[in-house]
Symmetry: C2
Subunit: 348 residues, 2 copies
Amino acid sequence: MATLRDVAKAAGVSVGTVSRVLNDSPNVSEAKRELVLKVMKELDYQPNFMAQNLGRKRSQTGEFGVVITGIDNPANAEMVRGATEEATKHGYTVMLCTAWTTQEIKRYLEAFIRRQVEGVAVASYMDQRTLLTVAELQTRGIPLAVCIDAEWPVAKGGKEHNFDGIATVAFESASTCEQAVQYLIALGHQRIAIIAGNAELNEADPRVMGYKNALQKAGIAYDRRLIFRGGSDTIMTGYRSMQEILARGRGISAVFGFNDLLAIGAMRALHEAGLRVPEDMSIMGFDNILMSGYVNPSLTTINVPKYEIGRDLIKQLVGVINDEPISHECLGTNFVVRQSTGLAPGSV
Amino acid sequence: MATLRDVAKAAGVSVGTVSRVLNDSPNVSEAKRELVLKVMKELDYQPNFMAQNLGRKRSQTGEFGVVITGIDNPANAEMVRGATEEATKHGYTVMLCTAWTTQEIKRYLEAFIRRQVEGVAVASYMDQRTLLTVAELQTRGIPLAVCIDAEWPVAKGGKEHNFDGIATVAFESASTCEQAVQYLIALGHQRIAIIAGNAELNEADPRVMGYKNALQKAGIAYDRRLIFRGGSDTIMTGYRSMQEILARGRGISAVFGFNDLLAIGAMRALHEAGLRVPEDMSIMGFDNILMSGYVNPSLTTINVPKYEIGRDLIKQLVGVINDEPISHECLGTNFVVRQSTGLAPGSV
DNA sequence: CTGTTAGCGCCTTCAG
DNA sequence: CTGAAGGCGCTAACAG
């Protein structure tokens, strides 16, 4: 493994000059630059990354760390795509970590810090605990960008967190959820259940907020027994939650899955139970993953700008690195009506 | 940012001692160890990763790099899960890179090398070019593990590659594909099309081999016009390919998608065209992603041990690091019959 | 424009 | 068991 010193010696110049051509310094004569470049090639010289960044004040690793919770959710994959493409555009590389628990996220965050990535983006909806963990990064001086629900965090009783030092990309979903639930109500649905998966269930969740608002405006009482948690955001959980709903049988005619995977799993359970969607039960999801347009029946859902979120997270990180002021952005969501929702049974 | 020297000074010991406790050397008295640990905590000391690995002969970064092509394919996500869990078990962390092109893969591989990961696993089916790129890693002395088709590479005319220095996890799919196609033939299907997505189409592809073998044994002529490529392994491509198949109308009654995403997209196109699966057309996939059991109708497919592949890739890397001999492994696949395949129309 | 000289923060011999 | 000294490969001031 040739070193910078070897190159200098072989080229008959000083290490300083070699270092300069390595770092594209303009203060090198074209002749020497070419000479050095040639020698580097001959010796198959590879700069030592560790050594390079050891002596630098602000390390330039050319890498961003991106954390997502659950690679198995296509919605996350889409955010990663946005982040990766944007990073590439700026000459950065994305290191991805998939962590399922707060514990793991913390571990990976530490790995990123050690590796001195130039910024970290968290491209998944986080709960409070996770956010606090992530926020520590600020103190280490690493630019941070997170994706949050627009109305979050306002959980009563929860610790408020100050986002001053953190770039955020938020998406507004409460009003869209409200609109979606109003749509279900307009179709005659009175008892609308929620399959919440792994979501933290508190009044702060924009989806819950939208749901409650719609109910209230329609004069329908909020019944918390209609909310089903399942512990994870997977198809399987959606499937099981629907089985539970069916077993309980509370006259529910519509179900709002907090993500599309949950909703798709729910539809499967319905199918196996011999029930039709939407004739017997309406199903609505959240995220609008690609798959949702291709399942049968296609899924009515709320579209979240996943690609854009990933992209803007990186955009903001790049901004911070270039000493631009930290910014906060809010993207919209929209309701996508497809075939999994219809008139409530008997409401013709 | 406190340094090792600061800790030594504050604790009244030498840097050597601090370094020793940092590296869990047994040659430190319990008293000093505790003292140093305490001081470290007080000073919030964080060892400098770059400095640590600079002076070491064999760097211990505690990280593996994993490359996948397309995070948007749940099959890949599953392999990543296997890899991540296995790595965690051994105290390693996984850095993931999602690259779509050989070009990108190369870039990421270089990033991994620079970062001195302790091993690299490629957890996607690769084509020849990509493999050659990846193989360069060997020359840099970084342990490498790749996932390959069992019969690959044997493409006629293609450069043979020597896998001696590379740990491999292969999966046997030709015979399973053959069995699957035989099943379709037994159901009365004579013209069976293939939606190949982005696969390299050559005789070496085990899936193609299995397909041709089955046809031959049944005395059905191989017609290459029945093979539809689409350029990518996505739902969208499956959807479009099926539209193409429908437009051509060659009396095709069954379609074999080279991955489940392709098959699911194809089913959607059928649905929109007013055709029923499997009554009008049988559909079969490959991979057995979780979703396949939940779409409607559920998808008949070939199960690939995705989790196990990811897991074993890391297992082998760990083995190489521990100076065990490089190994080659072959996992099996199996045919999963569900509801998307049935009797050929008119063959009752 | 170029060469020289200190370190960067840590590990790793060595003596003791 | 402990301390002291000498780099690891490179960048970053400096002088010239």
